[in-house]
């Protein structure tokens, strides 16, 4: 029942609200806005979560962050996007999905929002390679949260012991792997790499593919893995792993591979630059200070692209978001240099995308052992390292089966890649 007393109280409350509102509305136009953000489980995300109260303080925007493993995030996003639920205002993902997201109208360009909020957005401060992958048809669709590349890690102490020089070519790698595996009677694996079917092995094998002068597609956009370069790349990759790799390598993912190398049980590995942070962490590694870092070799004189990956994960704003401006503001704030600098202090985040964070003292102090190798790898990074077409996932999946078959010896490299080409072209035609 609404009697007179209640009515009076309501009136008083409304008056109080209307008095209070203008004061904060001027400096915090987003007061009371709530946005929902979907992020990957990653050191960067941990750091952002710690800083979110500052964002609320600054803008008045309430941020609800949900974190899921990277492996599950794409499916989750696509289900929300395609049902037009508007469940998330900001989402994070690998840039290989960007073309598909844009073409399906799932995400919006950010240029206008960024122009409005210059205080949080400094384009010149992003690593150019990381930022440019987010631009499609001249429009900025994402802001890079973290990035990484691939490089070769080798045990300096073992190389010295057996009179080997730092590996500069794929032959050097094979030769060193052979020598150390033989000299240690296979007690130490010559080389370890990810061999697990799917994105795991494809991510690493792509270094061989591009390094040997191959690529995923030919000039007309058809799948072209079964070229002489591609076949040679797969042969070389499977040969070193089969002959000088650890037992069980065909089922190694990132974790198994990283652990084996960290425990000093392998002489060489080719993997993401983020592994450097683990190798140099005394809490988890027995090889601190013993590891050398060099770029991925190039065999071909006329490569179609670099052999180092450029893996970039960005934040995008959903087309179904009701608070697109607030969402873009959050993405810009979370990727701004101030936040990236802080993230190095609070979490093992070596994947910063800001140049000033990359060149900061704290970065040098924490990751100095591999900083040079990492920056060299990023500068040579190839944004087409993994296919970036709409069907990227399916193509990676098919390619992974080919790598797995060749590694398991159930098909020759040529046959396996031919099969992958057929499957990829069928996917591209759909």
């Amino acid at each position: 029942m609404l009697n007179r007393r209640n009515l009076l109280m309501l009136g008083a409350a409304a008056a109080a609200l209307s008095l209070a509102a203008p004061a904060s509305a001027e400096d915090k136009p987003f007061n009371g806005v709530q946005i929902s953000v979907l992020l990957e489980g990653h050191p960067t995300t941990d750091a952002i979560q710690k800083m979110v109260p500052e964002f609320k303080e600054k803008t008045g925007i309430d941020v609800a962050i949900e974190v899921v493993p990277e492996a599950d995030i794409t499916a989750k996003e696509l289900l929300e996007f395609s049902s037009k639920s508007g469940r998330y205002d900001v989402v994070q993902n690998n840039i290989i999905y960007l073309p598909g997201f844009v073409k399906s109208g799932y995400i919006v360009p950010l240029d206008d929002f960024l122009a409005k909020h210059k205080e949080n957005f400094d384009k010149a401060d992003f690593v150019p390679g990381y930022f440019n992958t987010n631009v499609l048809d001249g429009k900025v669709y994402g802001l890079p949260v973290y990035g990484e590349s691939t490089f070769v890690m080798y045990r300096k102490d073992l190389f010295e012991q057996y009179g080997l020089a730092a590996p500069k070519s794929f032959e050097d790698i094979e030769n060193a792997a052979k020598t150390i595996s033989a000299k240690t009677n296979k007690q130490i694996a010559g080389i370890t790499m990810r061999g697990q079917q799917g994105i795991q092995s494809v991510y690493v094998w792509a270094a061989y593919l591009w390094g040997f002068g191959g690529s995923f597609f030919d000039a007309s956009g058809k799948s072209a893995l079964a070229t002489p370069e591609g076949i040679a790349a797969l042969d070389a990759f499977t040969k070193v792993l089969k002959d000088y790799g650890p037992v069980g390598v065909a089922n190694f993912g990132w974790e198994e591979n990283r652990l084996l190398f960290q425990q000093g049980k392998a002489a060489i590995t080719l993997d993401a630059t983020v592994n450097g942070a683990y190798n140099e962490d005394p809490a988890v590694s027995t090889v601190v200070g013993k590891v050398g870092y060099v770029p991925v070799p190039m065999k071909s004189a006329s490569p179609k692209g670099g052999s180092s990956s450029l893996a970039v994960h960005s934040m995008y704003v959903s087309a179904e978001s009701k608070n697109q401006e607030a969402a873009a503001l959050f993405a810009a704030w979370a990727t701004a240099k101030e936040q990236q600098l802080k993230s190095i202090e609070t979490d093992p985040n070596s994947g910063v995308t800001s140049l000033s964070a990359l060149n900061s003292d704290s970065f040098g102090k924490r990751y100095g052992a591999f900083k040079e190798g990492m920056i060299a790898a990023i500068n040579a990074g190839n944004p087409q390292y993994l296919p970036t077409v709409e069907q990227a996932n399916e193509i990676i999946n098919n390619t992974g089966i080919a790598v797995s078959k060749a590694l398991a010896g159930t098909a020759s490299a040529a046959d396996a890649l031919k099969e992958a080409d057929e499957a990829n072209n069928a996917a591209l035609a759909r």
Partner: protein
Amino acid sequence: MRPVAAASDPTRHFFQPIIVCLTVASVALTLFVIWISLHDLSLMRAGREKFVGLDNYIRFLGDPRAMAALWRTVLFTVLATAIEIALGLAVVLFLDRDFAMKRLVRTLLLVPIIMTPVVVGLTWRFLFDPATGMANYLLSLVGIAQVDWLGSPRIALFSVLVADIWQWTPFVILLVMAALESAPTDPLNAARVDGAREWQVTWYVLLPMLRRALAIVALIRAIDSIKAFDLFYIMTRGGPALSTETLNYYGYIVAFTNFDISYALAIAIILTVFTNVALLTMYSVLFPKTGDR
């Protein structure tokens, strides 16, 4: 069959509406799934869906990867069910005597069932780790070289099978033991008095009494094995070289890696039809009409 006087049964006011709701829901969902499987719907190609008729089903028949996955599903289901039933029965017969700590043993047997499949998968993944795993360590004690449990396409499926057997044999034991304890002991004693040997008592008297229980357990395990997913996902992700990709896992890949929703649903429907036919066949063999009370 038990006579059911539904018309006079007052509880019908509770169960009938529920049955109607569930029926409507499942029929509607099934029809929706079939409808989508007749389209070309991909999450990465929003706004470009089109009706394609039976294309997805025709594509399935010409998809060697799907056929291999179907065969692997059959192999895994048959092996898992048969071994779990045989092993479970053997353990029950062994435990069917009084000994100290019987209750403790029975409790310990339940541990694998209680564990979530993800934990079971991770545990076995570590046990099967070729370099640091327990399995190869035990083999090395008897001088056998390292076995590549999950990395060899010839062995990987059987390694997953071992984990499945470890987790679900106790379930068989539990159900069969319950059936055994509620079974009358008079016929067994009568047989013994008549001079039957112990194996004859087991084979001719005990096992026929357990037949129904075993058949039901076998059905439940077969359904679960066809649907098995967690262990494959955690232990091998369908690899190496597709050697552990079952039809259920392939459907998952098509839906959530390739985002090809229509084809994934077509696979799901084919798997459902296939499962139902197989189970109905199994049911009619295990429970023949004649002789069934």
